[in-house]
Structures are given as structure tokens and as C-alpha cells.
Amino acid sequence: MKILVCISHVPDTTSKINFTEGDTKFDTAGVQFVINPNDEFGLTRAMWFKEKQGASVDVVNVGGPETEPTLRKALAIGADTAIRINTPALDGYQVAKEIAKVVQDEGYDLVIAGRESIDYNGGMVPGMLAGLIDANFVNTCISLDIDGTTVTATREIDGGKETVATSLPLVIGGQKGLVEESDLRIPNMRGIMMARKKPLNVVEATGATTETVSASFEKPAPKGAVKLVDSVDELIDLLHNEAKAI
């Protein structure tokens, strides 16, 4: 089985969010970038398939040279090859279109992406990619088993979960649950040394167009200070009369 894991290069959650150029660009100064948490679960599940069932695992990112340390980390975790599609990521559609080309050229059976990236939280790339390459698609996937081309997956739904049957080729939007957090792989020294020798292939983009344009950013209005209360009566009164929340 040939597996491709989509890796989004995102600011660590604790990053300060600021903008530059008249609030049109995200300010990367001092920001630490990491593998998108949803993708980390997917990558670890892919490693499981590689070790237990025999599979090759490649990772892909659409982005400039600045994303290479994130791809190297994925290699250190155990991916065989990294692919960087050399163009800035502009919107979900453009990213999906660029990845679709790689999937079609290389013939992957399974593409694992995260249900969303924690930068724009778009939740677009996995579904759009599935639509573009005409593969089956399971979103918010929390468990995945594959036997030949037969797939059983569990997905989170509002208020519970459901188990579905499908087949390869398949794209999933994965999240925590694909593997337990305690099983997430952290690069060790040996992995880091080996990653240096593994291929990180830079491929030129097809020049896919976008469907949306990010015009500007805003920060939420500063929040007023918390109202501290001393009694539950006062709290209930405020929630009822002031906040109209009960």
C-alpha cells in the first residue's frame, strides 16, 4: 500500500497571533512552527500500517523552503520520502489541487490528511482532494483498518460516532483517536540522523489557481475584565438579567 500523509506547517498553539503589512499578512516573527496536531495523529497511524502491514509512507507539504524543517521532522518520525510542492499555500482549493497532481502521478492508495489545520481551520483540503481525484472520503476519522482494499473506519459525528465501510483509493480527514496521544511518535536521535539521508524532493507547482483571497485580518475586540461575584445568587441574577444566558 502506498500512503501519502499531508503535513501542514502551522504556528504552535501558544504563538502570539499578530499581523503585518496593514493587517494583511500573518506575522511569523518569533513564531515556532510545528506539524499540525491533526496530521501528527495521521502520520503515526501511517507508520503503524508501514510496520504492521507493509506500506510505504511519503509526506507532502505545499509551501516554501521555510517548511522543510517540519518535513524533516516527519522524516525523523519515520516517513520514507518527503515532497515539498514549491509554492506558497494560498487557499484550500489551490493546496488540494497541487496535492491531487502528486497523488495522480504517483498513484497513492491512501491519503491521510488532518480534519483541519490549526491556522485557518478551513477543513477544506482533504474533502476537496477526494473530490478532485474521485476517491472515497471519510472525515473526522478516529479509527482506520484496512484489509486489502476493504476499509473499515470510525468517524466522529455530532453526539457520537459511526462506523463506515468503504474501499481504496481513499482520503481521510483524521484527528486524535486515529492513535492514542500516548502513542504519538517523537523523533529520536537515530530518526533525526536517518532523516538527514532521506530524500526531500522539491517539485515545481502546477500553478493551480485559488478560489478565495485573504483580504485582511482582524483581532477580536479586547475583552472587558471578568466580573467577579461573591455569591451564587448574584451569579444567577447576572446570568439571567444581564447576560440573558439562562
Binding site: I17, G127, E156, E162, V164, A165
Partner: protein
């Protein structure tokens, strides 16, 4: 030309999100000088949608679509959009709508903006405001394609009643291969789900152990709320994983979020920023959650929560 809205239902009853997306679609239709058509799959009595601005309902009656199927639903909505010459399609951000929207976007070659929180600033160019960076900022996005898909964040717009009546027509799209088939569904039917809840009562490690959740469930019962928890609580197995709120857990966009014995770490806040009113009960006055809260009580949860439950019960009895 019209604005098309996908109205979700369960067992034939329209969900609250259906009325919310209908209200929002009516707002866009007014800006564009057109009307709202709803598409429903095995939907029931459509008259309720009329109260939220829908003029026509295309009802798809199809037994093979009883269980949700993202690909088939997306194909069906796309055909409805073409039949109605829809320029804008509005969906909610339920788990199912988030699943089908990107597929619909490919079917219609339509740009999609998710997590939208307000009516467009303008319809030509079509510019919407959406949350980004787990609610720490907003992004103003222009959709440049001929057809536009808007994913409206839960509780972002509210319900806006308007007078009118909706007519219903049957609609029979070609659904194609299902590709993915549902084998079993595991859903707690007697409990309010975190996604649907208006009120969420959440507790953290400050509760010391799973045996102390009785008072949390009692509060949820009184308020008709869903229960939730912080990550360590679910990691420790005190509560099910489905209740874990935050960056790696579920997002909550409730009207009221009550956090008890939760410190308010940034990864937790990432999941609740979209909630409207936040109440924090914590014995540590320095707990970071107080900075994000609207109302707070500094004190021991084991003293405050039982008192609060008693008073809330009395309040509910007097106000219902």
C-alpha cells in the same frame, strides 16, 4: 437566481441549525435582491422553514439517503443549486455539513469559506468574515468564483424570524455511488450533544476524581446542558473522550460555557473561544481562565457547585 440553503433534519424534524442557516441565507438574499430556496433530505413539515425566510423547499425523498452520505448529499445539493441557478449556497458547520461542503465545492467549482461569523460585508465582491487561528483572529475572505459556498459557524448569526410561507416540491437528484456506507451508529440519544448544546457545563482536574462528577451532571440536567471536560480528565479516563474540549478535542460554540476547576490553558481556550458567555469557578484567583471569562467566582467547587445547583433548581422552577 437564488440563495440555496441546505437545511439539516433528523428523523424528519428540522434541526435548529436549519433555521439558523435559513435566517442567514435570507439576510444574503435580501442583500442580493433574490429569494431563498432550501434543499432538505427526507425533511418533514417545511412550513417551519417559511418562518425563517425560505420561499421554496426542494425535498429529496430517497430511502438510500436515510443515513447521511457526504458524497451523495453533495451531489444532490449541487444538482439543486444548478436547478435553482443558485449563486450562493449556505451550509451549517455541523460535523456532517463540514464533511460534505468541500465535496460540494468541487462539484460546483465554487469557492468555499468555512467558519463564517457574519453576513457578507459586500456581495460584489463577495467578502465574508471567518474565524482563524482557533478563534484568536478573524480573516476577511473574498470568494472569487461564480458560485459561492458559505459555512456558517454555529450560534454566529442567531435566528431571525420573518413572515412568509414555504412551498414544497419534490426533488429527485441522481445520487450516484455511495462509496462509503454506514454500518453502525453509536449515539447517546438521551443526552444533549456538545455540538447542539446551548449550554455546556465543563469540569477539569480540579474535581479530583470521576466520583465527583455527580454534581456536574446534576447542573447539566437542571440547565438542559451538555457535559464536557478538559483534556487531562479524559486522558485519565475520568470522562469519555468525546467530552474533551479544546484544540485537540471538540470545539464549543455555546451561548453559555461554565468551566469548573479548569485552569484555562491556551489549548483548552482554543476550543471555547467561540462561546458567548463564559463562567469560571476556580479556587485559584490567578487561574488564567479568569482572563477569558465574563463572570467568575473564586472558591472551592465542592462548596459552590452544590449551592449553585440548589439555587438554579429554584430559579428554573420559578421561571418555567
Amino acid at each position: 437566481m437564488s440563495v440555496l440553503v441546505y437545511t439539516e433534519s433528523e428523523n424528519g424534524d428540522f434541526k435548529k441549525t436549519a433555521f439558523e442557516v435559513a435566517s442567514y441565507a435570507k439576510g444574503i438574499a435580501d442583500m442580493m435582491g433574490t429569494s431563498v430556496t432550501a434543499v432538505a433530505v427526507n425533511g418533514g413539515d417545511a412550513s417551519a422553514l417559511g418562518n425563517y425566510g425560505v420561499e421554496k423547499v426542494l425535498n429529496i425523498k430517497n430511502d438510500s439517503l436515510t443515513a447521511f452520505n457526504a458524497a451523495a448529499y453533495a451531489k444532490s445539493i449541487a444538482q439543486a443549486a444548478k436547478a435553482e441557478d443558485a449563486k450562493v449556497v449556505v451550509v451549517s458547520q455541523s460535523a456532517n455539513a463540514k464533511y460534505l461542503a468541500p465535496l460540494l465545492s468541487i462539484e460546483l467549482e465554487a469557492g468555499y469559506a468555512s467558519n463564517v461569523v457574519a453576513l457578507p460585508e459586500s456581495v460584489a465582491p463577495f467578502k465574508v468574515k471567518r474565524t482563524a487561528f482557533t478563534n484568536k483572529a478573524f480573516n476577511n475572505t473574498e470568494i472569487t468564483t461564480a458560485i459561492k459556498i458559505v459555512g456558517l459557524g454555529k450560534n454566529a448569526y442567531g435566528l431571525k424570524e420573518s413572515t412568509g410561507a414555504a412551498t414544497t416540491e419534490e426533488f429527485n437528484p441522481e445520487v450516484g455511488d455511495l462509496g462509503v456506507t454506514v454500518q453502525s451508529v453509536d449515539k447517546a440519544t438521551d443526552k444533549v450533544s456538545i455540538a447542539d448544546a446551548e449550554v455546556v457545563v465543563s469540569a477539569g482536574r480540579g474535581l479530583k476524581g470521576p466520583e465527583n462528577w455527580g454534581m456536574i451532571e446534576e447542573m447539566a440536567d437542571i440547565l438542559g446542558a451538555a457535559t464536557a471536560c478538559s483534556k487531562p480528565v479524559s486522558d485519565l479516563g475520568w470522562r469519555p473522550h468525546g467530552e474533551h474540549v479544546g484544540q485537540t478535542g471538540k470545539p464549543v460554540a455555546a451561548n453559555l460555557y461554565i468551566a469548573i476547576g479548569i485552569s484555562g490553558a491556551i489549548q483548552h481556550l482554543a476550543g471555547i473561544n467561540a462561546s458567548k458567555i463564559k463562567v469560571v469557578i476556580n479556587n485559584d484567583p490567578e487561574a488564567p481562565f479568569f482572563k477569558a471569562a465574563d463572570y467568575g467566582m473564586v472558591g472551592d467547587a465542592f462548596e459552590i457547585v452544590p449551592q449553585l445547583n440548589e439555587k438554579l433548581k429554584a430559579f428554573k422552577a420559578a421561571n418555567n
